[in-house]
Amino acid sequence: MQKHLLTMRVNGEQVELAVRPNATLLDVLREDLELTGVKEGCSEGACGACAVLMNNEPIRSCLTLALEANGAEILTIEGLATGGRLHPLQEAFVEQGAVQCGFCTPGMILSSKALLDRNPQPNDEDIKTALAGSFCRCTGYAKILEAVRAARDGDVGNEGS
């Protein structure tokens, strides 16, 4: 297999590396770039743990060849906090207790970010549709829904108050 040059922006930084054609975006993000916030769950697209944003759209990194991301802008959970401050969605997940084992959390938060960027005032149905196909095996869905609602309403940063 001939390696190909892959150029993309990951979390705001330009990266360039040679990759095998049969490497998925998940493989490259986790193994080459050591962004282990991207999780491998089912590896068949059904669970949502590997969700990242490609050009602001939620996609499954396990179903995307790394080379298909050539020229794209990728956002993983590692790129969400700015200047040491958590993103409001991350804060909301912490404050609402929407994280249990945490394995689904990166995918949940990134999918929610894509939703809020597209539709800043989603109703419960919109949120559920955006998160359908993202599985939380701790079954903490009610708290996840509350966290997205809180982020939508700007109801974050209240911890300890």
Partner: protein
């Protein structure tokens, strides 16, 4: 889960892609969105020598309205099709069908309209890991000579599972395919072979380029019905689409399609012939239901996550609902 080894090419024009396909034929596999194909690779259902990505071919992503048709580039993403103003204006049924596909985070932005149409037919004995399949015999699609769902069958009964298939068929869509001898246009109705091991009338050197939907001469009333265990992620257990044109109280055009039953979608022509020209009445509902059950009985085998008998009865129920909604009788 690892992918099998393959070479990768991402040409920027259709001509280049066709040239590679001509050179390698079936050994080169076309990759559009990959949301289903990559899973099939991981399960070792396909191990192509070369993967040809259509990602860089802008001409395959065009959506345009000509004087008589809506033309969808086969590589247009499901999100692009579903949000296009012309699609929403002329064919909201297609938007409904696309909305029902899997989940937003899986297929919506990566999946393509051509890919949904050319979704590999599915079977519970086929869409499994290599490890799982090792415990069963081979079937028509994996190099054997039998069907694991219907012993002694001389062909494969995998299920055509694309949500847009019955919809596009109800809208009398045509396909444009490019190949060695230039472009050809074929009715979608003639595209399916009914054999799961080679489900489409497509040559190894051909690439699906466009889906053309004729603009209706009068307003269409329509219905898309789908049954699945869970609305998200799951493929349909049965689906149905109906399109009708009613003028001055008379049914001028009617088409009813049921699918997700066997390798080919089924157009219920007999219902169409019986209803055309008459005023729509509730008798149409019984007619559609009975015809759908009869057709389903001849097609459905025990190869999905619901029983054969249930899927046959539900084909009738969905044909009834689709007819009722399209004819305003519901």
């Amino acid at each position: 889960m690892r992918l099998p080894p393959f070479e990768y090419q991402a040409p920027s024009t259709l001509d280049e892609a066709l040239k590679i396909k001509r050179g390698q034929g079936a050994a080169a596999q076309i990759l559009a969105g990959g949301t289903d194909l990559i899973v099939n690779f991981k399960h070792r259902l396909f191990s192509p020598a070369t993967v040809i990505s259509l990602n860089n071919i802008a001409e395959l992503k065009r959506i345009e309205v000509t004087h008589d048709a809506l033309v969808l580039g086969a590589g247009a993403s499901l999100a692009e099709v579903a949000s296009h103003p012309a699609v929403n204006e002329h064919f909201p049924i297609l938007v409904k069908a696309i909305d029902s596909i899997g989940a937003l985070g899986i297929q919506r932005f990566r999946g393509t309209i051509g890919g949904n149409l050319l979704l590999q037919p599915r079977c519970i004995f086929y869409n499994q890991s290599h490890y799982w399949r090792m415990s069963k015999g081979l079937c028509h699609r994996t190099g054997g000579k039998d069907c694991l769902a219907l012993e002694g069958s001389d062909s494969c009964h995998s299920i055509c599972s694309g949500d847009t298939v019955p919809t596009l068929l109800a809208l009398s869509a045509q396909l444009a395919l490019a190949g060695g001898g230039g472009k050809r246009v074929a009715p979608l109705a003639e595209f399916f072979t009914g054999r799961g091991e080679s489900p489409w009338n497509i040559m190894p050197e051909e690439i699906l380029t466009e889906i053309r939907i004729p603009l209706p001469w009068a307003p269409i009333s329509w219905s898309y019905q789908r049954l699945a265990l869970r609305p998200a992620v799951d493929f349909p257990l049965v689906n149905a689409a109906a399109a009708a044109i009613v003028e001055k109280g008379k049914l001028e055009h009617f088409r009813l399609v049921i699918a997700a039953l066997g390798p080919a979608p089924m157009v219920l022509r007999e219902v169409e012939a019986r209803l055309k020209g008459a005023a729509p009445t509730r008798e149409a509902l019984d007619l559609a239901q009975d015809a759908a059950v009869r057709v389903a009985e001849g097609v459905v085998v025990a190869n999905a996550s619901a029983s054969k008998e249930y899927r046959i009865q539900m084909a009738g129920a969905l044909a009834r609902r689709a007819t009722g909604e399209a004819l305003g009788l519901a």
